[in-house]
Symmetry: none
Subunit: 225 residues, 2 copies
């Protein structure tokens, strides 16, 4: 679970980030509109916490951009301006929740959890794609009703594919999604090839069709054709 916090007040930001990391999330921090925007366009996040008031731009624009680049990401708007208009505006632009400042960290955590539950994984007890069944809560994958043991990366890869079925996934996006560390630089996509191969093998060994389509020079597409 990878979060992005956009917040210009450094002390507040660090306390939020350290809390979230302690709670078990991966969390990155952007303190300006510029930085947030470039991160959004370069990396993928499961959820973003966006402060509306930024020194060099409006958080609303970030909401819009994030929706564009990561349509499946969750967005929580943070704002000191506790006005209904702000809330409406944020939600209209594609935010999922609104949290007026100041707030308790526990409250934030609960919002993130509930948003995440709502958005996909945990709220849904099962994801089904033809003969493949995923039970996100338990990190269990079944093919033809028999369980398949996947490693974490393989599991995340499959989950990412299934929640983005029929969409072309750039190698860069997959690599960024799988690699734990943000600043990590990829000089090669070999490890993607490797995970793809292992995942394919485990699925095929259970008599599953090969839904992972390679797109030369671009990436992969998970599709039922």
């Amino acid at each position: 679970m990878k979060l992005l916090l956009v917040e210009d007040q450094e002390d507040l930001a660090t306390s939020i980030v350290s809390f979230l990391i302690a709670t078990g999330y991966r969390c990155e921090w952007a303190c300006t509109y510029q930085e947030a925007d470039s991160r959004i366009s370069m990396f993928s996040y499961d959820c973003a916490l966006i402060d509306i008031m930024l020194p060099d731009g409006s958080g609303y624009q970030l909401v819009r951009n994030l929706r564009k680049y990561s349509p499946s990401a969750g967005i929580i708007v943070l704002s000191a301006k506790n006005s209904v208009d702000d809330k409406i505006k944020g939600l209209d632009l594609g935010a999922d929740d609104y949290l007026p400042k100041p707030f308790h960290l526990a409250e934030l955590h609960s919002r993130i959890k509930s948003l995440w539950r709502r958005r996909q994984m945990n709220g849904v007890m099962e994801l089904v794609f033809n003969e493949i069944k995923i039970i996100p809560d338990q990190m269990v994958v079944e093919v033809h009703h028999t369980p398949v043991i996947l490693t974490r990366k393989e599991y995340e890869l499959l989950l990412f594919f299934i929640t983005n079925q029929n969409r072309v996934m750039l190698k860069e996006v997959l690599a960024e999604h799988l690699s734990g560390d943000q600043a990590e630089f990829f000089n090669s996509f070999d490890f993607i090839y490797s995970h793809i191969k292992n995942l394919r093998k485990k699925l095929l060994d259970q008599g599953c069709a090969d839904y992972i389509q390679s797109i030369y020079g671009v990436g992969y597409k998970f599709t039922a054709l």
Copy 2:
């Protein structure tokens, strides 16, 4: 854009369906839980409008199942019971929006649009030019509803043509667009001719007209004449 309306009141349903079809959507209608559930598991929809109160089951279960089978579909819950609890419950199960009955059809339309905008990329998800359809998200090209396999350069060429239709494209511009803007010193346009020819062939083989018009000494124009 393919919708599923789940609603047991026949008069209301028909008026909604005819409105949506008139507005330009493809819309199917299920009047019972059973019918809706089997449609959900058999077909795929971009968005579902689900009435919670059904004669033979609960719409909540439909929300859950739809999330399971089509995690990327949008879900709008319709309910006469305008209680906060219902709303929360629907959203928690994975719905994206909640619309209390009665509602204006225009309001419904606006919700669908905004949901779609929020879920998918801002706007363009299909480009259509006569018998040619391009789905950029999927990097898929269809002619007469049958897919055509293009290489990356061919795909980029076609996309470039279609987004610049009726405009004369200089060979230099095409070359620069295709050769990844590396100040590539192409002393010949042979590779353009080559790609044009391959693209033409693949399209013609599917019974597509030749929209690529050569302009002697200048370049090409993609036009419907």
